[in-house]
């Protein structure tokens, strides 16, 4: 049986289950100092003066550093992009001149303990002169608005449009046009591990090591080398065990720059471990878009045109490498979804405000685009009196139409869109739920069923930037595989893992392709000193691109191992098989060599090798899928709404997903369910709220609600497993999809439940308060 596709139990679990995981916060270096950041209490203010004298003199304090003092050691992060009309901004490690959001770091203390460092923060005197707070994109775009970044010249940092055909004309002549103004509020990723980093400067070797809870160690190394004016080969970035990422840890943060510079200044290791309040204040947040959209359909329900205007609140800074464009561009790229949309116009604006920066979060843009498009599909279905599943079936791209170039230029290489919807409809017992719904309505119960179909681009190759114009190639990863002299296998990757189980899945790929025993393969990741050049793990790329690189390197090694074995056994290489750590002569099962014996020969020098063969048994290969591949799914939610309490209970949730060839079904299921749980949280609970003064009102986990086991329903997952025709191995990405479909399915289910009341869901999350206002505009309960 192939190891690829086997439900192998994870090798990394042993350490996590016994408390032996090693996260940044767990690390201690000798002479290590603890860093605490003084954070701005104001959303927008000029820094008049900072006096650190009292703080410096407190016991246990080694240093107290301001932005101006740090500036000579660390350049500001500048999020560049080649995108036309984009305005780059600078994000200093510590604020200089002014602060642009509440929580921005203004000064740093280095002390013998975190307790002493926090004591010293209270002894720093900062004088601020407050500035008008830009709390909304509307305010930011007003003619006389104060600029968040004077140097940018405008609060509108970017704008872009994707146009195909003539959406205006098509909408004007369409028999049915549905539309709405949609709002998906601000969201926080809430990794269980807060961000943390530890830097160690070796003054003798002039080398710096940074351990960071990051998804992108390779990217950090290249960028930090520039910002710190240090050659990259003197810089090592390690992502040890990382407690969740979800995109939130995929950008370079100012704390990472600051901690490196502080360790260098102090000549001692410096560690910062963010607390939850810092995380909610400063980690990148997601969505926060307002979408005005119209969908035009013919009388038979087929789509004629889609038009959308999307305004994104991108917060105070554009982040590296994704820039402030990441969310809004994805929304306008993916609004047409898996459907045939002849005419499309999608316009987007990214607008700076005095809030935490916007960044990528699981699904990036597509939870928003799917919410909008799927809501419009249901509205069109209701208007036409066509069942919403039937309407979708009339519009979904069929296999014979693929590959298909979407209106925004994305190529869908393949997909099982129709099959996934039909299967989801059957698994969820759609007709039975409809019958139950009718009976329930007679009895005053509000049951609804909501469907969401989506397609996402995963394993994005170099031809299509994950973030247009951004200074990163997301399309390439490498694998270095070494058969050690003793016959074990060490496989190193530029990827970084934060829960995905790469140590297991990539070992499965390597063992299968090389012909090694699984228990003899060790995967190393997240260390720029150990693996080939790469960027990290994000954008549902690691199985596709890392897996592809693993296959290429393993195949190269297999070929060499077979050549050595053939030489030693005096047979033709074509007569040999290599599996389970053993090369065997076909038809002569007693003539075998173990991988250990082959490795020993490989490192024994030229005398034991075929003439002219280079010694050693190690290969590095890089892989670039060039375009990337389409993953798709259908989500079906069955909800019941209590009209008195406005509580929404998700009674059933079905996911029919196609992530191509599956490496490990346990892990695919874990990703699909975990992503869906996050999507359900986004639909019903999770919302970052700022006051008009730019103060974060949801700065704790009492205020920002993450779903617990009591809120997440049982989620049934069906795998279609239609291998990608375009990627090596047939793999497609699976990390983000759950979060893309779930908000739309839940929103549609609630709207469906409340259809007798004429309620439409245009705003997420659907909190009880919002629902109360929707179903009882006069403020009275329904019954």
């Amino acid at each position: 049986m192939s190891l690829i596709g086997a439900p192998v139990r994870r090798v990394e679990d042993a350490r996590f289950l016994t408390g032996r995981g090693r996260y940044v916060a767990d690390m201690t270096l000798s002479r290590m100092l603890h860093v605490a950041f003084l954070r701005s209490p104001y959303a927008h203010a000029r820094i008049v003066s900072i006096d650190t004298r009292r703080a410096r003199e407190l016991p246990g304090v080694a240093a107290c550093v301001t932005g101006d003092e740090l500036a000579p050691c660390a350049r500001p992060i500048r999020a560049e992009s080649k995108m036309a009309g984009y305005r780059a901004t600078e994000f200093p490690a510590l604020a200089r001149g002014k602060v642009r959001f509440a929580g921005e770091a203004v000064a740093a203390v280095l002390a013998e303990s975190r307790y002493a460092a926090e004591d010293a923060l209270e002894a720093i005197d900062v004088r601020y002169e407050t500035l008008p707070v830009i709390a909304t994109p509307e305010a930011a775009m007003a003619g006389d608005a104060t600029l968040v970044h004077e140097a940018a010249g405008s609060n509108v940092l970017l704008s872009r449009a994707f146009v195909q055909g003539d959406a205006e004309a098509a909408i004007a002549r369409a028999p049915v046009v549905v539309g709405g103004r949609f709002r998906f509020h601000r969201h926080a990723g809430v990794t269980l591990e807060n961000r943390a980093c530890l830097a160690d400067w070796d003054a003798g070797a002039r080398e710096l090591t940074l351990w960071s809870s990051t998804q992108v160690p390779g990217l950090l190394r290249e960028t930090l080398a520039e910002l710190l004016d240090l050659p990259a080969h003197r810089l090592r970035v390690v992502a040890p065990d990382v407690g969740g990422g979800f995109g939130v840890k995929s950008a370079l943060y100012p704390e990472e720059v600051a901690v490196c510079a502080l360790a260098r200044l102090a000549g001692r290791p410096a560690k910062w471990v963010g607390d939850r309040r810092e995380d909610l204040l400063t980690s990148t947040q997601a969505w926060d878009e307002t979408i005005e959209a119209e969908l035009a359909v013919h009388a038979d329900g087929t789509i004629s045109a889609l038009r959308a205007r999307v305004v994104a609140d991108v917060g105070a800074y554009s982040i590296h490498p994704w820039t402030a464009s990441i969310e809004v561009i994805q929304v306008i790229s993916f609004l047409p979804g898996p459907y045939r949309v002849p005419h499309y116009r999608g316009e987007g604006w990214g607008v700076a405000t005095n809030k935490a920066p916007m960044g990528p979060y699981r699904g990036v843009g597509r939870p928003v685009s799917t919410f909008v498009t799927e809501a419009l599909m249901d509205r069109a279905a209701r208007r036409l009196g066509i069942d919403p599943v039937e309407l979708r079936l009339r519009n979904l791209l069929r296999p014979d139409e693929l590959p298909y170039r979407s209106p925004s230029g994305v190529v869908w290489d393949s997909g099982s869109f129709v099959e996934s919807l039909e299967r989801a409809r059957d698994v969820a017992e759609y007709e039975r739920v409809r019958a139950e719904q009718r009976r329930g309505r007679d009895a005053g119960r509000y049951v609804g069923i909501g469907v969401a179909c989506y397609v996402e681009l995963t394993g994005v190759g170099s031809a299509i930037p994950a973030s247009p114009g951004a200074a990163i190639n997301t399309g390439t990863e490498g694998a270095t595989i070494r058969v050690d002299p003793g016959g074990t296998v060490t496989a190193s990757f530029g990827l970084a893992c934060h829960g995905q189980g790469h140590e297991t899945t990539l070992a499965q790929v390597v063992a299968e392709e090389l012909g090694a025993q699984l228990e003899n393969v060790r995967v190393i990741h997240g260390d720029t000193a150990a693996g080939p050049a790469g960027t990290g793990t994000y954008a549902s790329r690691s199985a596709v691109i890392g897996g592809g690189a693993a296959m290429l390197a393993a195949r190269a090694l297999r070929e060499k191992a077979l050549a050595i074995a053939a030489h030693l056994l005096e047979v033709a290489a074509g007569d040999l098989t290599l599996a389970d750590g053993r090369a065997s002569v076909r038809g002569a099962p007693d003539r075998t060599l173990t991988l250990r014996e082959i490795a020993r020969a490989a490192y024994a020098g030229a005398k034991r090798l075929p003439k002219g063969m280079e010694p050693g048994l190690e290969a590095t290969r890089f892989y670039d899928p060039y375009f990337g591949t389409a993953s798709n799914a259908t989500h079906v939610a069955v909800v019941e709404v209590d009209p008195e309490t406005c509580a929404v209970v998700v009674r059933r949730f079905v996911v029919v997903e196609d992530c191509g060839r599956i490496i490990n079904p346990l892990i695919v299921e874990g990703q699909a369910i975990g992503g869906t749980a996050q999507g359900i949280g986004a639909a019903l609970l999770e919302e970052i709220v700022y006051g008009d003064d730019g103060q974060l009102l949801t700065g704790s986990l009492l205020d920002y609600l993450v779903p617990t086991a009591a809120e997440v329903p049982a989620i049934e997952v069906v795998h279609l497993e239609r291998p990608s025709p375009t990627t090596l191995g047939g793999f497609k990405g699976v990390g983000e999809g759950g979060t893309i479909g779930a908000p739309a399915a839940v929103a549609n289910a609630i709207a469906d439940a409340l259809a007798p009341l004429g309620v439409e869901i245009s705003e997420l999350p659907v909190t009880p308060e919002r629902l109360f206002r929707l179903i009882s505009p006069g403020g009275r309960p329904l019954r």
Partner: protein
């Protein structure tokens, strides 16, 4: 800042002592003074449950307790679950049923599940959901955790 005080307690069956400021959190004492970094800090305000330990036999949040409050106490952390080199049935079940991904909530989740099964050896699915709702997991959607706790309950009943 006040002068350090001595804290004596029994952790995972071993007598321990350390000197710390009276304001030091129990979780920081366990992690920094005793080197037991398996207990994690996720929120420092008693919501996420990553820091859950058994305190005199009952689940407690070590991030909202002071180390001095634990003087004389008996504490179990994730490091004490393994016995004689063998994984605890809960640990085995979490591995078997893919009850963890990033591993950060896992120590608190294991201890919370242990507390649940000590008081209710045969919980229903609803009781497990309620029991482990004291700990946030952001990765798994709780599916594998529920299956693992059910399986461990069976194993522990049969043992």
């Amino acid at each position: 800042m006040r002068d350090p005080v001595t804290v004596r307690l029994r952790v995972n069956g071993v007598e321990c002592q350390g000197r710390c400021e009276p304001r030091k959190l129990l979780v920081d004492f366990l992690r920094e003074d005793l080197g037991l970094t398996g207990t994690h800090v996720g929120c420092e305000h008693g919501i996420c449950g990553a820091c859950t330990i058994l305190f005199n036999g009952e689940a407690a949040r070590s991030c909202i307790m002071l180390a001095v409050q634990a003087d004389g106490a008996e504490i179990l952390t994730v490091e004490g679950l393994m016995q004689n080199g063998k994984l605890h049935p809960l640990q085995e079940a979490f591995r078997e049923h893919h009850g963890l991904q990033c591993g950060f909530c896992t120590p608190g989740m294991l201890i919370t599940a242990l507390d649940l099964l000590q008081t209710n050896p045969s919980p229903t699915e609803g009781e497990i959901r309620e029991g482990i709702s004291a700990v946030l997991c952001r990765c798994t959607g709780y599916h594998g955790i529920l299956k693992a706790v059910e399986a461990a309950a069976r194993t522990m009943r049969e043992a």
